[in-house]
């Protein structure tokens, strides 16, 4: 009788030991999971990738492993499996889903990545859910420098939206947001400048003057700030060129305050004092020509700055105007 009891209790102990073995040194997962969402017109492309391997520290002769990716938008999509392999095999799987949304609708997105062992079951599982709005989304935004406007001391950038279907984005509202706080090597304590520059959350209407275009995104420091940087920066530890970087995200309005984040960019404002004092402004890798500025000395400007390399043509058709003036300064 005692043998029966010992057998049963021993079996129970073994079962419990097996169930915890995976998490306590029998094997260790080394995986990466990556999810992506891309909009193109009304089409939504999502992908879930899981990739990596497992270090095995115990005997697993009969076991096999596999990795799986779940990618479901509304009722479409499902699980994609790598297929089974040995426990120490290297696995890679990507589950894709493509869905065409309807404007105004919101769709549930479920994603998951998991690693499964035939002996220990699922030993790594990480997923989540999200909401994807049906929305007309540009897959491309091209940035064009339109030159320097000396009257407001800003570089002007104009953007063109497009998708693979050639849709019109005219009359759609877009806005900027801060992806993360920026950096500013022109800053010093007491400078009055912002240490972590951000966007001003401006918004614009696409196509106000030109089909599928919006702008201007106006970028630069005020002249008083430039004065401050070149005159007081060196004795406060600023080395040149110094750069302010703003991490700008762009959103397009789907409807009623529902927005789709369609891209992120970096805005940089570079100030240099080698030779002439210059400021160079860039958006999404597109840069204006460095412009020279004068600085204030004894209440008077040393030289009235005059260099305008690419003046804005005021005789042409009116440009699209932002609904809120889009002055982009790091203050």
């Amino acid at each position: 009788m005692n043998r029966v009891i010992h057998f049963v209790l021993g079996s129970l102990a073994l079962l419990l030991a097996c169930s915890t073995a995976s998490g306590q040194g029998c094997f260790q997962p080394h995986f990466g999971i990556y999810t992506s969402v891309v909009g193109d017109g009304y089409t939504i492309h999502t992908a879930v990738t899981m990739e990596g391997y497992t270090t095995v520290n115990c005997s697993m002769t009969s076991a096999t492993h596999k990795v799986e990716a779940e990618n479901v938008i509304s009722t479409t999509g499902g699980w994609t499996s790598s297929g089974s392999g040995c426990p120490t095999c290297y696995f890679s799987v990507t589950g894709n889903d493509t869905f065409t949304g309807v404007s105004g609708e919101i769709y549930n997105w479920v994603w998951d990545g998991e690693a499964v062992c035939t002996v220990f079951g699922t030993f790594l599982n990480n997923g989540g859910t999200g909401s994807l709005p049906g929305c007309l989304v540009p897959s491309t935004e091209d940035t064009d420098d339109q030159g320097w406007n000396g009257s407001i001391y800003r570089e002007l950038f104009e953007m063109t939206l497009s998708d693979t279907n050639g849709d019109s984005f005219d009359s759609h509202t877009i806005q900027e947001y801060t992806v993360q706080p920026g950096t500013n090597t022109c800053w010093w304590n007491g400078s009055g400048l912002v240490q972590y520059p951000e966007t001003q959350n401006s918004h614009w209407t696409v196509g106000a003057s030109t089909h599928n275009q919006w702008g201007f995104d106006e970028i630069g420091w005020d002249l008083t700030d430039l004065d401050n940087i070149v005159q007081n920066g060196p004795r406060n530890g600023v080395s040149f060129p110094c750069v302010a970087t703003i991490y700008q995200g762009m959103q397009i309005e789907c409807n009623a305050n529902l927005w789709w984040n369609y891209r992120t960019d970096a805005i940089t404002i570079t100030v240099n004092n080698v030779g002439d004092n210059t400021e160079e402004n860039c958006r999404a890798g597109e840069c204006g020509v460095p412009v020279t500025f004068s600085y204030q000395m004894g209440g008077q400007r040393k030289t009235w700055w005059a260099l305008i390399f690419k003046p804005v043509d005021s005789s042409g058709p009116p440009r699209s105007s932002p609904q809120i003036k889009a002055v982009k300064e790091a203050r």
């Binding site: 009788m1 029966v4 009891i5 049963v8 129970l12 260790q28 997962p29 080394h30 995986f31 990466g32 999971i33 990556y34 999810t35 992506s36 891309v38 193109d40 089409t43 492309h45 992908a47 990738t49 990739e51 990596g52 391997y53 270090t55 095995v56 520290n57 005997s59 697993m60 002769t61 392999g85 040995c86 426990p87 120490t88 095999c89 290297y90 890679s92 990507t94 894709n96 493509t98 479920v110 998951d112 998991e114 699922t122 030993f123 790594l124 599982n125 990480n126 997923g127 897959s139 491309t140 935004e141 693979t164 992806v179 891209r263 992120t264 960019d265 970096a266 999404a284 890798g285 597109e286």
Partner: protein
């Protein structure tokens, strides 16, 4: 005593049967204790790991379907890479995929053979080879794409860390 043991065993089976007949639920996350969430700590995900995941996700194998091509094109367009550089990038990614698959296939063949002999294999040499492949692919991108497109792709991949999760030893 015997009754006690029998009840215990039956309870275990009943518990197992209940678990198997339960409706499928979305599993709770079973995370590795050292899982790094790029949405919280992007700085802890090295660029090399971010590029590896991105290359694996966006590259497609030989003889892709039209849907796969479209999906890849849209994903590349969304990076901001110039139109004139996009085809070059697609070619580079195609080369990456072929080499990546070959490396993984070769390793997995030896791993399966070792498993049949009740031996385990060390994946670290493979990981190093994949890291080298990722680096050479990045070098090709820098050399063959315009500097503007290469910079945009780099900014995009780095920004995508927010959508990545990696185990600590995956670096």
């Amino acid at each position: 005593m015997i009754r006690y043991v029998i009840v215990l065993v039956l309870s275990m089976f009943a518990l197992g049967a209940w678990a198997q007949s339960s409706p499928p639920l979305h599993q709770h996350n079973i995370t590795a204790p050292n899982l790094i969430d790029g949405a919280v700590h992007p700085e802890l995900i090295p660029d090399s790991v971010a590029y590896r995941l991105y290359f694996v996700a966006v590259s497609i194998g030989a003889n892709p379907t039209e849907a796969e091509r479209t999906r890849q094109r849209v994903r590349i367009m969304s990076t901001g890479v110039k139109n004139t550089d996009q085809q070059t990038l697609i070619s580079i990614l195609s080369g990456f995929r072929a080499k990546y698959d070959a490396l993984v296939d070769e390793y997995n063949t030896s791993a399966k053979e070792a498993a049949a002999r009740n031996q385990t294999t060390d994946a670290h040499p493979l990981v190093k080879e994949i890291d080298a492949l990722v680096q050479s692919t990045r070098d090709m991108i820098s050399a063959q794409l315009s500097s503007q497109s290469a910079a945009k792709l780099h900014a995009f991949v780095v920004s995508e860390k927010k959508n990545m999760k990696v185990t600590g030893e995956n670096q």
